[in-house]
Subunit: 361 residues, 4 copies
């Protein structure tokens, strides 16, 4: 069976989800919906995606610039099993009745409130709990980053208490209008919404989040302090747990990756690798040297690529809803199709630094 | 008695310290030393400060641009009781033998290692312990910010454990060469050096610090999570403790100060107030709305103006060394001369929000 | 006679204009109008300015935070001879009927279209032409910078053709919301609006302007190429013409001012000088080394402090309207009151570099 | 005949040149040389490139992290016909004797002075003049951008005079250390070095360049004013000349590309297209709406992707040196291999805007 998928919205998330759907063996991208012509609409056409006019958009405007349209959003809805809504914040909620009326399943993004859907989803953290749902919300980039890390920590050592400071990017790289240009803006509500949001995936997670916004476009960085229930033997034990988990990428010191500028440089360099979208970093990024253990207290930094981290989760959410596969199988399928995990770079454990044999990742 | 003070170095810290010395009733600025001509040397002359040539500097170069010099560093040393070293990192240590040989007391800055001096100093935290020393090190801007906050928390509620994430500015506003322009660079060593540095002032302080550098020039922001020994009754109790302490400025919600851009705007707006250096913010800056209390757990944000926060501490360090006054008296004298605390803005406690009577700060 | 002045709007321009009015010997600041409480409203009160509620603002909201109000905008209008409108773009035009109905003269800012007033004003360029007008528009920061420079070039050498590329700051330092964070945004309309705007002050000025927006908050920089009608003998002739004109500041190479970060550092350093608003740079800023002459072709860079450059022009506009003084007298009066030109720094001409005698500025 | 090519240096330029060489039908990448291990060295290995140790680099350090090395730089030199030197500024000059001693031809980058090689090269501008040289210097990104544009303007209309203001990016996206973070730094030497550099390719080109550095990482933007010898009929004539030339990309208004953030977004979106390196923009980028014509005066903006624009020129330089093909053939071969020009997006001329027929690019 091939699941027929539509994508509503073709911005930062929508275009990446469309590409990802198109690469899955068990999914078929029927088309994408967009409200107006732009270089991104042109790109959809260039990639061979059928283009539908969303919302109040004008088919004439597309025609005037030579972009062929296949119909309007209802035409797309009539042909799909699942709709992925990648429209701007709060538009998703307004679209929900359309999907219901068309009888299609729907996946919303983390910009929507949790009650937009039957459940909130993070593949490593609660795939099973989301099986069979008719609507799901893939949590936001930051919450995805947190819940993935929770999926590593919880089963191994338990979490007594977790504090995260989120150092958030101000705007995406393709945006011109949002600031600040120079300055730091704290999110004065404590906890920030990210902690409660993570609890929609993992109820009861003992987490408190605080956040600031800073003038960068590349990635968020999370500064984590976790008090575990059981103390790891050493930092290497924690590092290897992350390194051995899908959708984590851990940089070793010799790689000379000082911060997010080099992480994104690494991501851009992967362009030629099969299936990997060059400029994206769909994994949680950690630094081996930035993982510190003192008894049950673990500190670690993780960088989160806000543009792409939720893409594999959107794919897995489809399989969970339709019960096409169990979680590990879906994750493996998604990652293989997207090339995640193939170019891991720093696969050799710190403990083995003296041994000049390189483990293939 | 008037203490004769010299300042070696006339950059970001040196020029502010010189201005501050010149405004104190019990101190006399004998002169400042600088290695080469620049608009800042011109400013020293414009303010009537005697200019001495430091290090390998050439008196001819000053003369060539019409800047009169009064001698070289040793000439200045011969006339002072105390030298404040505000030279670049690690130059202070190299200068120490000069000060010793001249028999003058010396104050170093936080860029030097702790053992450059007999003690590390923070006025609110350990004034008494530093009385009578011949050399002191005023701790760095971030450590000053932390130890000031400790001086509020420790005596009132005790500190069980303290985690701070320092979101650090990349460069000062007057610098052109340092980056990053776009990106976040984590300080991978955990703890960052700030925690141990705070312990040079407050031995045994149970603090762990982590840090990231971000592309801003205005201020650092500290994101704090403190587990206190005794729980405050409510957030307002903590807010008022900060608000009632010298060298703290707490913004109320109605002031519409979202982040460091507005804090610095507030600081620039003070220019016309007696004694206050317009663009500076020598106080720890907190947001009333950003103080959160859950049982013994307190979260708060504080912004630290890296250029100016240590200036009053340099003045107090002189009085501590020479035992000119006790701590509270010195702090009050310094602050009165610098205008700190006179324009407090948001002095009305949150609890009294309904009462339209404004408490004068 | 003392002219009674009100200021409507107390943001970036309004607060500076109010300070400047308050310092003039022949003007009296009656009060300022603002729509809502903020740290800036507090500052107005701290400076002793009477506060009036503008527009739809609520007097109760001011009272609730302890800010005393003296009335509403119409109450202020009833007491003034001239109103300076410093409200956001296009609000000025909406306010015009209020000023007309109250029978007060009005000065608008450059964010308004030229036809908002009887004339467009730039003190050095067209003071005489604006005498006796009942309404004037002080042109924008960039246009003020251009027309000031024109007032130097036109009478001395004539202008055959002038090309300016404006490298514009993205946001003011106190703003958090505007971008871009990383990127350059060209103003695709050629010429940009600045050229035609300069022609509202100097009809027929043969100028073409192009513009880009870049991620900085400090200053604009103009890159100028002028073909003059008569060739200057050498660059020094042009440098000295600028240096000898009020409201120009020319940095010499030895001052080590590489770019706008150091220009603003210089400005901040002036805080203690009588009358000068520390963080402001009300002069056009040139670099001696950046002035180049090849026959009739002159290139020069000038930096424009968008927040403050139009402030003295607002004051002079009052005197022009009311024919209180001729242009040079008004300019001298304004500048003396604001401290402009007293701390000129690099006053010695390049030609005299060998002579170690410093001309006092 | 297949030409054997080595690349010395594997940073921003080197890694892109290596990828480009590997994709050419008539070239063979023998290996790359690098001084020390890093994520970029890992990438070379991942792509199957043979890795040689350059300069003082230690083979042991590579071995210690599992990176296999094939030898040292002399070993690579022994196997190649041409060496492309992509080492940091001025290192190229130091390397020249090595290449001479090994009897290999060498291509240097624009960071070197012009006399490092027999000629300076820009494919569209002076391919023929560089045929048969043993050493060439591919001019810098900005000079390549200028000389490509000259190759469009000169033969069609002639250039009477050309003024360019270069708004330069401060650092590359992968750099952490260079600033400024906030501020504009003018290049006070007029002309900047770019004009004379362009004249090394096109002697006598009547061009004057001025430059400023701004806090962005994405692209440079050139603001051009050209007085042509013969006036074009209209802007569309100029637009179409650029659009019809290889290595130019012209955005139409409907594409909604406001500035360099969207240009780079467009580039990133090309990742999946055959042969194109996703995040790169090897073409000069113009905006149709930003081209303005008044008689013989033309204004236009062009954005230059500093990381990639010289890559195709490095390839063509090889063919010119070895006389493997004429210029147009080489350019076409290079571009086909790299995918340049296939995804042109806005191919429809402005004049035809009313006709809803889209020309395939």
């Amino acid at each position: 069976m091939t699941v027929r998928v539509g994508v509503n919205g073709f911005g930062t998330i929508g275009k990446r989800v469309a590409d990802a759907v198109a690469r899955q063996p068990d999914l078929k991208l029927v088309g994408i919906a967009k409200t107006r012509p732009s270089f991104e609409a042109q790109r959809a056409v260039d990639h061979g995606y059928s283009l539908y006019v969303a919302g109040e958009g004008s088919a004439e405007k597309f025609a005037a610039v030579g972009l062929p349209v296949a119909g309007r959003l209802p035409d797309l809805l009539a042909q799909v099993d699942v709709m992925i809504d990648a429209t701007p914040e709060e538009v998703g909620r307004a679209n929900r009745p359309l999907y219901e009326a068309a009888g299609v399943r729907a996946i919303f993004q983390g910009g929507e409130e949790a009650d937009v859907a039957e459940g909130s989803f993070s593949a490593l953290a609660n795939y099973e709990a989301c099986r069979g749902k008719r609507t799901l919300r893939v949590v936001s980039c930051n919450t995805t980053g947190i819940t993935r890390a929770a999926a590593v920590l919880l089963p191994r050592w338990g979490v007594e208490h977790w504090e995260v400071t989120l150092v958030r990017r101000a705007a995406d790289p393709g945006e011109s209008k949002r600031g600040p240009v120079d300055g730091i803006v704290p999110t004065l509500d404590v906890p920030s919404h990210h902690g409660p949001d993570a609890q929609t995936v993992l109820p009861g997670l003992p987490i408190a989040t605080t956040a600031v916004v800073v003038p960068t476009t590349l990635m968020h960085v999370h500064v984590n302090h976790v008090r575990l229930r059981r103390a790891p033997a050493e930092a290497a034990e924690v590092v290897e747990a992350f390194r051995g988990t899908p959708r984590f990428h851990v940089f070793a010191p010799w790689e000379r990756v000082d911060g997010t500028p080099q992480v994104m440089e690494f991501a851009r360099d992967r362009w030629g690798r099969d299936g990997i979208r060059g400029p994206d970093m769909m994994e949680n990024v950690l630094w081996e040297r930035g993982v510190s253990v003192h008894g049950p207290d673990v500190h670690f930094f993780q960088a989160i690529h806000q543009e792409s981290i939720v893409i594999p989760e959107n794919i897995d959410a489809i399989r969970a809803m339709l019960e096409l596969a169990d979680g590990p199988t879906s994750i493996a399928t998604t990652d293989r199709a997207l090339g995640i995990g193939r170019a891991r770079g720093a696969a050799r454990p710190r403990a083995a630094a003296a041994t000049p044999v390189r483990r293939k990742a």
